[in-house]
Assembly symmetry: C3
Homo-oligomer: 106 residues x 3
């Protein structure tokens, strides 16, 4: 099962996290405060952001990425996919049941 690793400006993070769950694109999102150091147009920035660890399924990952691209304020957002090597089966089942379209879940 994939985890999407997404960084978002701190004041827009919770709204995006909630939307991913409301839209059934992620079963859950763990949002972590961080400071992000990066170079942009020759200058080094140090911004307050949040990392969103969004738990989803193979079937929903591409839709999740498309949604984040459309709703993210940055020109080039950090959206990465990490697949677990194993997980508690009950957690995997719960995730499956928490995402997907109505037809997929009926």
């Amino acid at each position: 099962m994939p985890t999407a690793y997404i960084t978002v400006p701190v004041d827009e993070a919770d709204e995006l996290a909630r939307a991913l769950v409301e839209e059934r694109l992620a079963a859950c999102v763990n949002a972590v405060e961080c400071n992000s150091v990066y170079r942009w147009r020759g200058e080094i920035h140090d911004d307050e952001e949040k990392i969103l660890f969004a738990k989803t399924t193979d079937e929903r990952y591409d839709d999740l990425q498309t949604y984040v691209e459309r709703h993210h304020p940055a020109e080039v957002p950090c959206i990465e996919r990490f697949d677990e090597d194993d997980e508690l089966s009950a957690f995997a089942e719960w995730c499956d049941g928490s995402v997907g379209t109505d037809e997929e879940r009926s």
Copy 2:
């Protein structure tokens, strides 16, 4: 070497992190504050939790998962396994020496 990714209610996280190290199920645990957004029985929740990144070995992973299942307050805890693609060899050796039963380490 595996990293276990575990989410726990914030007020129970440090106790579990310490127990995993005391029981030699993890060499070290990095505990990170987060807010977790998820849907449970039709309602969206936003809870204060901690992510525990628990560093362990192949041999100890299943015991670690069993221990967390037994001591976790949630009905369906988030317990996931991520294997590194590489690590500093001295760190790997230290981890090996920090977990395992007395016989394994003698």
Copy 3:
């Protein structure tokens, strides 16, 4: 593309994060506060640290690891590599352009 997972004492983390970007060893670094529980010489410690998630490239990973080893205060630092399974292509291109030597980028 690899992510380096590095833990550092909290008061030395931002300096190392900034140096990795300045030296073009990482395109960006997300620095997260954590408490680290571990056993060292028979005693259990609980230290305030930061996890640095440093985004880099295959070509630069070994140089990044060598740099961190040289500048890290710990005898055995935690330096681990996690490769993504996928990422937004625009982000990957931006990372490529942000690291590497002058010749590599000319």
